[in-house]
């Protein structure tokens, strides 16, 4: 009943289930929850946009394709898009001590991409724990929609 979502993957499930993902540095975990069906999905994406890559065989690596796929699969499995709400976690800038590069840090770009793509789908973000400079791991409980965020630096947090 506990299932682990690896980097560049998503899993959809129904209550009773707990979806877990670890090692969110600059990556983002998106937990989409359907309160009515007590179902949902968890996506762990790495990159803000599929246009950055030549190889797009794995949509779950990217915010844009990953979110589209996840939403599509949830609808296929009986969710109404109007019942979905989102929580996003991650998007850290772990090496903030290094000099800035030409582009914004990947974590920041991932956060912006999550917002943009969810807005495009019309799905509200009801809570988030993003940014800062540390890694996070999460547990997404499908009975309640609660997300537990764990980090070495900050301990436990409930979203």
């Amino acid at each position: 009943m506990k299932k682990t979502v690896h980097i560049g993957e998503f899993i959809i499930a129904k209550n009773p289930a707990i979806l877990i993902t670890n090692g969110l540095g600059s990556c983002i975990a998106l937990a989409l929850y359907d309160k009515k069906n007590k179902s949902g999905g968890l996506l762990h994406f790495l990159l803000p946009d599929s246009s950055l890559s030549v190889d797009v065989s794995n949509p779950a690596k990217f915010a844009d394709m990953g979110i589209d796929q996840l939403v599509y699969q949830l609808i296929e499995n009986g969710s109404n898009i109007n019942n979905l709400c989102a929580k996003i976690i991650g998007g850290a800038n772990m090496f903030s001590q290094l000099p800035r590069h030409a582009l914004k840090p990947i974590g920041e770009r991932n956060i912006a991409a999550a917002h943009l793509n969810l807005e495009r789908q019309g799905i509200p973000i009801i809570s988030e724990d993003v940014g800062a400079d540390y890694g996070r791991s999460i547990e997404f409980h499908l009975d309640t929609g609660i997300v537990i965020v764990k980090s070495y630096k900050m301990g436990k947090l409930q979203l």
Binding site: I7, A92, M94, P99, I106, G135
Partner: protein, 206 residues
């Protein structure tokens, strides 16, 4: 250039220069800590970006990662990794205190560890640069203490990563023994794709 499609002779050449670099950094590390340091034959790893956390055995383990960018004729990143305990052990040697001292990573401890990385990485890069007749200089180090998976993915994606499908990495393992305890650390050399071309050209393997 398709990094997933390099020929064996090219990989051998790259492994050889990594060996030269590693040898120099092992002897630098050995001088700092006053122990004999052994290295393995560097491994060339070409892996999809989503598998990058597999470079550390247990991705959930809390580790110290010191990241240095390098610049000049070639560009890329180096990442020096130790378990938190082993990092603390090295710091204790450096600060000449017994190993039961406070386990906090304060400013002093962090800058000691960054200095270790600076010396080890500079030795690696300067040996590489001399051999290849290329200019290579390291940036200031940045240190994080966090779970291995977060450290590895974020390190690779920091800055303006240009090839984000596959990771080209040369991994060297350091080992040294103190009493009953075996300590190990890893150094990852992550050249940008264009720089890999430059390296192969210098080796006449392009």
């Amino acid at each position: 250039m398709d990094i997933t499609n390099l020929e064996n002779i090219q990989l051998d050449g790259i492994r050889e220069i990594a060996n030269i670099g590693s040898g120099h950094s092992a002897s630098a590390l050995s001088q700092i800590i006053g122990h004999k340091v052994m290295i393995n034959v560097p491994e060339v790893k070409i892996i999809p970006i989503e598998k990058i956390s597999s470079l550390w055995v247990n991705p959930k383990e809390i580790i110290t990662g010191i990241l240095l960018d390098f610049l000049g004729d070639i560009t890329g990143k180096t990442l020096l990794l130790f378990t938190k305990d082993d990092a603390k052990y090295i710091i204790d040697i450096l600060l000449e205190r017994d190993s039961n001292s406070a386990s906090l990573f304060g400013d002093m401890e962090q800058s000691s560890l960054k200095e270790v990385a600076n010396i080890v990485v500079s030795a690696y890069l300067s040996a590489l640069g001399t051999f290849l007749e290329l200019m290579v200089v390291p940036s200031v180090p940045a240190l994080v203490i966090d779970d291995a998976a977060s450290v590895l993915t974020s390190a690779y994606l920091s800055g303006d990563a240009e090839n984000i499908d596959a990771v080209f990495c040369i991994k060297t393992q350091f080992e040294f023994i103190k009493g009953q305890k075996e300590l190990e650390g890893y150094m990852l050399f992550l050249p940008d794709t264009d720089s890999l071309k430059t390296i192969l050209k210098s080796l006449h393997l392009d």
